[in-house]
Symmetry: C2
Subunit: 140 residues, 2 copies
């Protein structure tokens, strides 16, 4: 499938690198750690191809993609022990299928509501990012 | 599976009826129209059982559930012609798996961002709800 020249998930450009850290490829997607960590352990799972809507995938493609999504969500639960994982796919202006996976904690930011797209508050050191990634990957 | 006594999706109680209108059962879920219609055509797809996290379902259950979700999303696209459908599953405090399906329109509320859980602004007449439901169901 064609890659889009102006899509950050297709190009893995500087904007993309400023927002997230690539962790690994999954079956039909790539896992990223979201750099803004107000919601500890927050990740993005992006589909391998430049597809806009979840309903554009075949049944088999969708099943594989959602298997990747829940694999990550379950690993987040085991690693960070949040009360709940939130799942959000928006991208009104960015036609590349991806889910934000956002752990929510009692007394944490936005608990009981939706989540902020980018609170812009909590960024970590390289060592701290590496530690979180290492723990998460060990639970995948 | 046990129904939860204090879950609005299990009980279909007055709180639930104040928020949404039951449209129909799908394969493993129930489709509701969200009464607040700032995002025209907005719906909820709730899993048939009181399950908290998407990753608690078996592969088969999850695949059937996501097939229901995309069936509705595709019908929303055909019926209301939004630019994009947003998918959100949060429920930090309500342990019953459901997705909010929210059509987004250019120059409409929250276009380019996430969506508000309940803007509390636009409610319709019974006739208008019926018309929207009729159109959506004809495209399912």
């Amino acid at each position: 499938m064609e890659k889009s020249l102006d899509c950050l998930y297709c190009q893995r450009n500087e904007l993309q690198k400023s927002l997230m850290i690539e962790i690994c490829d999954l079956r039909v997607s790539t896992l990223f750690l979201f750099k803004e960590q107000s919601y500890k352990g927050r990740c993005v799972v992006a589909y391998k191809d430049h597809v806009n809507e979840l309903f554009e995938l075949s049944d088999e493609e969708r099943n594989l993609f959602m298997a990747d999504v829940v694999k990550v969500a379950a690993a987040m639960k085991r690693t960070f022990s949040p009360v709940k994982i939130n799942y959000g796919a928006y991208s009104d202006k960015l036609a590349h299928l991806h889910f934000h996976l956002v752990p929510k904690y009692e007394n944490g930011l936005s608990f009981g509501g939706t989540f902020e797209m980018n609170p812009g508050k909590i960024y970590l050191s390289d060592e701290e990012y590496s530690q979180i990634i290492k723990e998460l990957v060990s639970n995948l």
